[in-house]
Each structure stands twice: as structure tokens, then as C-alpha cells.
């Protein structure tokens, strides 16, 4: 989905290998905090015990993991964790047996930090072929990357050569016999389709069983500012469900639907505190600083705009143009010289409005009203004024100001500031003039006021 956060090439820990009676410890202190870190380990033989790992690490489950009779459970494993500042190393254990081993970590920017992995598939290739195909993965959306891991052990040093659709991140070989042989590769970009399987060839003749793992990487959400058009390619799916974080609205669309989605800056999401809750910087900023900034109107939507042009002929009803933005805060969309203010944060909005007109000649029984219109036709607020002749007015200029309004608006709604009336007779023009030290101008100021 265009507009989602993009995954990018991983930061790598550097390989760690050795021989140990039961565990390996990988230094991960250099891995970026707040990013998902994947760590893999491969042994030089099949272990007698299942792997264990430090607390907080999540195993990337594979269908063969729990079957003690199969090699996959005891020759290699992969784990992930959202890396924090206190995570400096990770220890993976295999129960007191002495093995050569290799370990490496991969930290991908842009992954979803809660559910970074989907579609895990595992298998064992027992054919003895040097060219093997990974288990097939079917990503749920076309913005996923695919990771392929092949792992075996050997009496000779072996290297991997993967197909062109993959980028090799780690090809572990070496140490002392017996040698682990680990390939870690990914597609280095989003893929589309289902049942995706990738080929790799191992050197050195007929191999032992090759343990395989493949899974998709899930990108994290992104807060977009400004209105954007998002194309949802769901060719493999009949329907799609979209979540909009700020409003918790769930929109369902069908295949083939054209969709225009506007993302917003999120409203402050206030939590309820519990005993023992941590108050790290991210939490304090999200729960304390950000709501304060919103309540002080530093970050909630607010827009002031005015018309500074030479005037234009008006007919009723006239959606007024504004060519100069004098204040814009938060996410509220307006294009200067346009008439429409687009809403991207739902809520109750308040504002003030003045419209000014100039009459080129006396207009009998003419009247004017200022209106706030939503989505073109809904008149949310109206103030009426009347004029019968031009005499007594200051050079035919009128300012109809002081219109205060409040209106509830949803994402995608647009507001226009309109003047309407009767008997204008082609004599009415928009105004921006100063007469007798009075500024006759057209402007509005509006702001988010409440949920």
C-alpha cells in the first residue's frame, strides 16, 4: 500500500562464531533502539536439546519446531525482539552440548514493532539436491519483504548462491569442522503474489538435510500529513480492511474500488495509568507533553486565511476565495486561491468569518447573508443582513463580519465560506479595500475545539 512506512535494508551485528558447550552470546549493543532485531543461530550438528533464549525474545515459530524427531528444532533457530537501550547482548543456549556455531543479527528499519513477522513457513529438504527451494510464503499485502533462511551443517566448508530475486545478507561458513552453513537472505524490497518460493544452491556436493525457514516482514504504520491518494492493490484478496489510527474508523472496501484516504495527525490518545506503569521518555511525551501542546492549541488544527486580491464579480451563492494563509497549525488542508478547507482531524470546529462586498451601483432590495457550508450543500450556519439602497453607505462597500460559528466535521469534509443573497443584479464584487480607515476585507479563522 503506497504510503505505508517503507522497510529498508537491515543493520547487521557482524557474525559471531565459535565453539561452545551449550550457548552462544551475540553482542547487539550497536543495534538501533526501537527497531525489530532478528537473531539467527546455526549449529555444526543436530543438537540433542531444543534451543532456549534470554527473556523477552520471541521465537519465529516454524511448523517443524515442536517435532523432536526432525532436525530443524535442534540445528538452527531464529528469534526477534524490539531492541531497547538495555539490550546489549543475547544468549541462545542448546543445553550443554559442544558445537561449533554461528550467530548474526539483522535490524530492519520500518518494521511494525508489535507484529513484524507474518506467514512463517518451515521445512526440511531431504532430497540431497544442491539446489533447494524455500517454503512458500503468501504475504497478506504487497508491501511485505520475504526473508529466506537455509541452514545445515557439513564436514566441508559450504557457501550459498541464491537466485537474483534475493539479496544475501549472511553466508556463514568457516570455523573448524564440522561447519555450520547458514544462508540469510531477503528480497530487499516488497513483493507481490502468493506462494512465493525462492531458490538457492549450496556448494560442496550433496548436503545433509537443509533446514529452511521463510517469512514475510510487515512494515509499520505511518502517519501521513496532508491529503494523499492511496492505491490499495488487493488482487489476491476480495476485500480489504483499512484502519485509520486517529479516528479508530474502520473502512471496508471491495476489490476494484477507487479509494481516497486522508491520514491525519493523531488526536492525543490519553491512557489510564496503572500501578507499576513505566514512564519512559516516549510515554511521557505521548501522554504528557503532546496533550498539553494540543490543549494549548499549538498542535491542533487551526487555519487563518484572507483575500487580498483585486476583487471578482460575485453571483449568489458565492463560495469565497482566499489567497493568503496567515496561520496554519496542525493538519488542516487548504490550497490558496481555492475555496475549500478540507478536514483531516475530526471534531467540533469553531471560527469567525467576515465577508466584504462592493456594490458598483445602487441595488434595490438586495440582501446578503454569510454562510458556513459543509460539503457544498449543507448550510451549517447563517447570518443575514439586508440592504435596500446604496445611499448612506460608505462608497458602496459593505463588511459583513462577526459571524461566529461552530460545526462538527469528519475526515474528508470540506468547509466553504459563502455569501448568498438576492437582487444583486450583477453589481456585487468581492472586496479588499480600506476606506476611511476601515478595512473591508474577507477572511476567516477556524480551529479545532473539541472531540
Amino acid at each position: 500500500m503506497a504510503g505505508a512506512m517503507a522497510i529498508s535494508a537491515p543493520w547487521e551485528t557482524g557474525g559471531h562464531s565459535g565453539a561452545s558447550a551449550g550457548s552462544g552470546t551475540l553482542n547487539i549493543s550497536g543495534a538501533p533502539n526501537g527497531q525489530v532485531l532478528i537473531v539467527v543461530v546455526s549449529l555444526s550438528n543436530i543438537g540433542g536439546f531444543p534451543f532456549t533464549v534470554d527473556p523477552g525474545w520471541k521465537r519465529i515459530l516454524a511448523s517443524y519446531d515442536q517435532d523432536a524427531s526432525l532436525n530443524g528444532d535442534k540445528q538452527f533457530a531464529a528469534y526477534w525482539k524490539l531492541k531497547g537501550p538495555d539490550d546489549t547482548q543475547v544468549t541462545i543456549s542448546w543445553g550443554g552440548e559442544h558445537h561449533q556455531f554461528v550467530m548474526r543479527g539483522f535490524s530492519y528499519p520500518g518494521l511494525d514493532t508489535t507484529h513484524p513477522i507474518e506467514g512463517v513457513q518451515a521445512g526440511i529438504d531431504t532430497t540431497g539436491n544442491t539446489t533447494v527451494y524455500s517454503p512458500a510464503v503468501s504475504p497478506t499485502l504487497n508491501n511485505r519483504w520475504v526473508v529466506v533462511i537455509n541452514s545445515t551443517y557439513s564436514s566441508v566448508v559450504r557457501t550459498w548462491t541464491e537466485e537474483a530475486a534475493l539479496v544475501e545478507r549472511y553466508d556463514a561458513a568457516g570455523g573448524t569442522e564440522p561447519y555450520p552453513a547458514l544462508l540469510y537472505a531477503d528480497t530487499n524490497g516488497p513483493v507481490s503474489g502468493s506462494d512465493l518460493s525462492y531458490q538457492a544452491t549450496i556448494s560442496g556436493g550433496t548436503p545433509n538435510y537443509i533446514n529452511q525457514l521463510a517469512f514475510a516482514l510487515v512494515p509499520g504504520p505511518v502517519y501521513m500529513t496532508g491529503s494523499q491518494t492511496v492505491e490499495v492493490d488487493q488482487t489476491a484478496k476480495a476485500n480489504a480492511t483499512l484502519f485509520m489510527h486517529a479516528t479508530q474508523v474502520i473502512e471496508s472496501v471491495s476489490a476494484g474500488d477507487a479509494l481516497q484516504m486522508v491520514n491525519t495527525l493523531p488526536l492525543p490518545d490519553i491512557k489510564t495509568w496503572l500501578n507499576g506503569d513505566d514512564h519512559d521518555a516516549d510515554t511521557l511525551n505521548a501522554q504528557w507533553r503532546d496533550p498539553m501542546l494540543w490543549l494549548l492549541k499549538d498542535t491542533c488544527p487551526q487555519l487563518h486565511a484572507e483575500y487580498d486580491g483585486a476583487g471578482y464579480a460575485m453571483t449568489s451563492p458565492q463560495a469565497l476565495k482566499f489567497d493568503t494563509v496567515t496561520m496554519q497549525r496542525g493538519d488542516i488542508q487548504f490550497t490558496p486561491t481555492g475555496t475549500k478547507v478540507y478536514i483531516t482531524v475530526p471534531g467540533l470546529y469553531e471560527g469567525v468569518f467576515q465577508g466584504a462586498v462592493q456594490l458598483s451601483a445602487a441595488a434595490s432590495n438586495a440582501d446578503f447573508a454569510t454562510e458556513i457550508r459543509v460539503n457544498g450543500s449543507v448550510i451549517a450556519s447563517r447570518m443575514d443582513d439586508a440592504i435596500t439602497t446604496e445611499s448612506g453607505l460608505q462608497t458602496g462597500v459593505q463588511g459583513f463580519g462577526g459571524h461566529f460559528f461552530s460545526v462538527r466535521l469528519n475526515i474528508g469534509d470540506y468547509v466553504e465560506f459563502v455569501m448568498a443573497g438576492n437582487n444583486w443584479g450583477g453589481k456585487v464584487k468581492s472586496s479588499d479595500v480600506s476606506v476611511n480607515s476601515i478595512r473591508y476585507a474577507t477572511f476567516f479563522k477556524m480551529w479545532w475545539a473539541a472531540i
Partner: protein, 187 residues
């Protein structure tokens, strides 16, 4: 220089633990400011003469509310000078007498900053609004205006072209000229 400061929430950094001083500065002060923002409400309680064909600056006789000293009753009583910088949401109202000789002509009501040609808010009330009417005609403005918290002041002025001399109607609370300002957001 204004002695009142609009709170600015700090950005917390990793491993920072709020101290007692933080709780005062970052929680108590901003919440108090939000719950009790700078505001002033003024009334006119003595009728004021409105001469024909002239602008008259409304003079205020007292404050119902003045949290931060925006109104100086010993100084120029047509001016209100917010002491905390920011944008202020305001409204003002005045009533025009439409009986007898006061039926004709237009009326204007305007909010002005520093008595200049500033685009705060202006409202024309055409003569037809008074035709055939024998009752008092209230009129008002709502506006949003920016003040620097030191020298910027607000005035409300009215214009009438009835042909004769009028007064405001300050002896009834529902017709008394009023002005209200409340802090809205920082500049």
C-alpha cells in the same frame, strides 16, 4: 515587558524521571493556565453619547472579570490591553435605539487594534434593519485578534447615521455594551 508567560511543555528524554519541580512546572502550571486562561469581561453602566455621522469609541465602566489586569479603570477607559501575548477570542455587543428619530441611517460596529486599519472585525448594519422597527436593536461582533501582551490594545467603536444624537442603553443589563476577551492560543 509582559511578566506573564504562556507555558511551553518540555520534551522528555530517555531515563528522565519527573522531579517535584517538574511536576510543578510541567503539570501544575500548564493545567492551571488551561483551566484559568487570561480573560476579561467589561461592561458600560453609564449611557454614552453617540453623535450623528461620527465614530464613537465605547468607554467601559468596570470589569466583571479581569484575570490578568487587561483593563485599567484609571487610564483610557476605551482601551483594553491584554497582558499575556497570544490570540484572543472575543465578542462585543451594543444596542441601538430605533424609536422616533433614530430609525434612519446605517450603523457600524468595529473591533480595532491600536486604533489602526486592522482587519479584526467590522459589521455594517444597513438602514433597512431599522425601518419600521420601534424596538431596540442589539448588534454584536465575534472576532479573533492577536495581542503582543505589552502595548497592543483593543477598542470597540460604533457609528450611527440616524440624523440625530443617540446614546447607548446602559441602564438595562440586557442592552448594556459589553466586551469579552479570552486567551485562545499563543502567537
Amino acid at each position: 515587558m509582559s511578566t506573564f508567560v504562556v507555558p511551553t511543555p518540555k520534551t522528555w528524554v530517555d531515563n528522565e524521571i519527573p522531579s517535584y519541580a517538574d511536576l510543578e512546572a510541567e503539570l501544575y502550571d500548564p493545567v492551571q493556565f488551561i483551566l484559568n486562561p487570561p480573560a476579561v469581561k467589561l461592561r458600560q453602566t453609564t449611557n454614552q453619547t453617540l453623535n450623528n455621522g461620527q465614530w464613537s469609541y465605547l468607554s467601559w465602566d468596570g470589569a466583571e472579570l479581569d484575570t490578568h489586569g487587561a483593563f485599567n479603570s484609571a487610564g483610557n477607559k476605551t482601551q483594553v490591553t491584554p497582558q499575556v501575548p497570544g490570540w484572543y477570542l472575543g465578542w462585543c455587543g451594543v444596542a441601538f435605539n430605533t424609536s422616533g428619530s433614530f430609525m434612519a441611517g446605517q450603523r457600524d460596529i468595529e473591533a480595532r487594534i491600536n486604533d489602526t486599519d486592522s482587519m479584526i472585525m467590522h459589521k455594517n448594519i444597513p438602514p433597512s434593519a431599522f425601518s419600521g422597527s420601534t424596538s431596540v436593536k442589539p448588534a454584536g461582533l465575534s472576532f479573533l485578534a492577536a495581542f503582543n501582551g505589552t502595548t497592543d490594545y483593543l477598542q470597540i467603536r460604533v457609528y450611527q447615521a440616524s440624523g440625530g444624537t443617540m446614546t447607548t442603553i446602559a441602564n438595562r443589563t440586557d442592552y448594556q455594551p459589553q466586551l469579552y476577551l479570552k486567551w485562545h492560543c499563543r502567537l
